[in-house]
């Protein structure tokens, strides 16, 4: 049996919980809403071929993901950001799909940390 692979940096999560205290739930909630909004707009921009917009949204998403200790998610966002920057969105739909999948793991793990 293998250890379940975590999608979050546990040290970061521990620090966040320490600092946010009771507001940790609010943080997770905010992150979920921010992220859903970003994923939705990334879909539109990728579909519309708006490379600069892809770059900006992916950039912001990357920062937030990093702050929450979701390093794999941040890394995926960064590669999307790079595509936007190079104005080559050929592989973007696939990469966005990876981002969405990774996000579902991340948010599930975060919500599992919340009480009841």
């Amino acid at each position: 049996m293998t250890e379940p692979v975590s999608h979050l940096d546990q040290a970061v999560i521990a620090e966040l919980q320490g600092i946010m205290g009771d507001s940790f739930g609010l943080l997770v909630d905010t992150f979920r809403q921010d992220s859903l909004g970003r994923i939705e707009s990334l879909r539109q921009h990728v579909a519309g071929g708006a490379a600069e917009d892809v770059r900006q949204v992916a950039h912001s998403f990357k920062g937030s993901a990093a702050n929450l200790g979701a390093l794999q998610l941040a890394s995926l966002c960064q590669s999307l950001e790079a595509m936007g920057k190079s104005a080559d969105l050929a592989d973007a739909p696939v990469r966005l799909q990876h981002v969405e999948t990774e996000f579902t793991y991340v948010i599930a793990e975060l919500e599992a940390l919340l009480p009841g």
Binding site: V12, D34, A66
Partner: protein
């Protein structure tokens, strides 16, 4: 810790990151304000005046770079640390943050240890900057205050020093425009006798200290000069006045000179200034007049010596007065101008009239290339024949509208102790000059009083024969004898009887001087002698030309002078 807490503005459009950072900052004990874009950030900045600004670089409506630039423009040199929040990693983007006016940046993911270290560092800088700024403002306020006081002092200084005879045709001077600040002062007055008096002073300290000393100095100088006090009495009084007024440690190095155009003599007193140079043209000789006394205002004791020296001058001979500015003038190499250079110029074979300019030019050329070029006080006074001397100014006292007494008489008797030690002329003149309109005639009045009084004391009381004065030996002997007889006499007196009657046009002054002497065997002839030799030399005949009438009353110990004057014919 509460005292150290700061107000920190966080501007980030990412709700997650903003929420997170807010929690981080609060955990460190600071107050937070949040904004969701650049425009709101500016509004919050105006409203709450935060101590530190944390700015996301990429924001809707107005990005972080623009916000930073606008804040910098608005706050001027007030220190507001701006820290960029960024997930950027490329070096050029980070450089862009700093160029836009950022002081530092914080990369995502946030790290509470780094955040704490950065905020603490900026808090220390803010404190230091605040202290510096307070000190700078305090210095600026102090400086402004000082400038105001100096300006005030300068105005006082100029006002008290100004009413002098600075346009006299035998006077040239250069006073630094900074005179007030180096404490140099020049005063020039005319004695009732027509003698020209000049005082060059150099106060220790400057600004207000100099102005404070300048007031009593100038007022005493002009007041006493106008009343005809002797130079020695003026020096003594100036010293007493300054000693009384000035704090210990502030004093006035000064010299006073009196030019007598009639007898071509110079009286000079020097207390603490560099040697005066008296240039004798015909003999091509330079006589130095060194400081022989303590400066004015140092001591009231006998250590202060008010006695001036007496020097002979011929027409066109000149005396140079200076403060230490000339020989202390420093050239670009740091050498001082010194005494030798100055004396060498005066020894050069140039016309006497060119000496003043030559000195000034040499000093200015010497100081070329240094900052201090005109910090020099130099005064030149030339002996001229009496008729050639012109005051050059309209200092002739104004006709007074004020009414004084118009019909009065006074009797004044001096006994022996007073005759020996007291000069009554300033007092008498002081009373007479209170008569409206008579100030313009001060010279005449002074001459009449002084000749009549000298006549009464020397010939009447002391019984001396003025024919003694015809030879040089006799001249000296005459004064020695006078002193001796005055010492010996016990019961002598001189009486003044003065009557005055005036109206709107002018007035008539009758002065009778009577002495306790025996008088003369015969009433003297009063025509002007061709070459001296008559009983009174030139004294009484000279008076006859000034007065409506001059009468020697039998047996010769009473002389009556009647002097008329009119308003419109004021003598210059």
């Amino acid at each position: 810790m509460q005292d150290d807490s700061l107000t920190i503005l966080i501007a980030d459009d990412s709700n997650t990151d903003r929420l997170l950072l807010e929690a981080f900052v609060r955990k460190l004990g600071h107050r937070t304000i949040t904004a969701v874009d650049g425009v709101e950030a500016i509004e919050c900045f105006h409203r709450q005046q935060p101590d530190i600004v944390l700015l996301d670089a990429l924001m809707p409506r107005m990005n972080g770079f623009e916000v930073a630039a606008q804040i910098r423009r608005e706050v001027g040199d007030t220190f507001i640390p701006i820290i960029f929040l960024t997930a950027l990693t490329e070096a050029d983007s980070l450089a862009q943050c700093l160029e836009a006016g950022g002081d530092d940046f914080l990369t995502k993911p946030y790290n509470s240890v780094i955040l704490k270290a950065k905020i603490n560092a900026f808090r220390r800088m803010l404190k230091m900057h605040g202290t510096l700024q307070e000190q700078r403002d305090e210095i600026a306020r102090y400086n402004e205050h000082l400038l105001r006081e100096q300006d005030l002092a300068k105005r006082i200084f100029d006002k008290v020093a100004r009413p002098g005879y600075f346009k006299a045709n035998n006077l040239r001077f250069s006073m630094s425009p900074m005179a007030m600040f180096n404490g140099d002062i020049l005063l020039v007055a005319l004695q009732p006798s027509g003698n020209l008096l000049a005082l060059l002073g150099d106060f220790t300290g400057h600004g207000l200290a100099a102005a404070v000393g300048a007031m009593p100095l100038a007022q005493t100088f002009y007041g006493m000069a106008e009343k005809g006090f002797a130079l020695k009495d003026m020096v003594r009084e100036l010293n007493a006045k300054l000693y009384e007024v000035l704090p210990t440690g502030v004093f006035c190095c000064a010299c006073l000179v009196e030019l007598d155009f009639e007898h071509h003599t110079l009286q000079a007193w020097n207390g603490g200034l560099p040697d005066l140079f008296l240039v004798h043209g015909r003999e091509q000789r330079i006589e130095r007049i060194p400081s022989k006394s303590l400066p004015l205002g140092v001591s009231s004791s006998d250590a202060f010596d008010p006695a001036p020296g007496m020097y002979e001058m011929e027409p066109d001979d000149r005396v140079f007065l200076r403060s230490d500015g000339i020989h202390e003038t420093v050239n670009a190499a740091g050498d001082m101008f010194g005494e030798d250079r100055l004396e060498a110029i005066l020894h050069r074979d140039i016309p006497m009239a060119a000496m003043f300019d030559a000195v000034m030019q040499a000093v200015n050329a010497f100081a070329e290339g240094t900052e201090r070029t005109d910090d020099v006080s130099l005064v030149e006074l030339v002996m001229v024949p009496k008729q050639a001397f012109q005051t050059g100014s309209d200092v002739v006292p104004l006709v007074r509208e004020l009414q004084g007494p118009v019909d009065w008489a006074l009797d004044y008797e001096l006994r022996m102790d007073s005759i020996r030690s007291f000069n009554p002329l300033p007092l008498m003149l002081h009373i007479l000059l209170e008569v409206p309109g008579l100030r313009g005639h001060a010279g005449d009045i002074y001459t009449i009083l002084s000749e009549l009084y000298a006549n009464a004391v020397e010939h009447g009381v002391a019984g001396l024969d003025s024919s003694m004065k015809e030879t040089h030996e006799g001249f000296v002997g005459y004064y020695l004898q006078k002193e001796q007889r005055l010492r010996e006499l016990a019961d002598a007196w001189v009486r003044f009887h003065i009557e005055y009657r005036g109206d709107d046009n002018g007035g008539c002054l009758r002065i009778v001087v009577e002495d306790s002497g025996k008088g003369f065997k015969e009433v003297p002839d009063m025509t002007m002698p061709e070459s001296g030799g008559q009983f009174s030399g030139r004294g009484l005949p000279l008076l006859k030309t000034l007065c409506r009438s001059l009468t020697v009353l039998s047996p010769g110990n009473r002389v009556e002078a009647v002097y008329d004057w009119q308003y419109k014919q004021s003598r210059a």
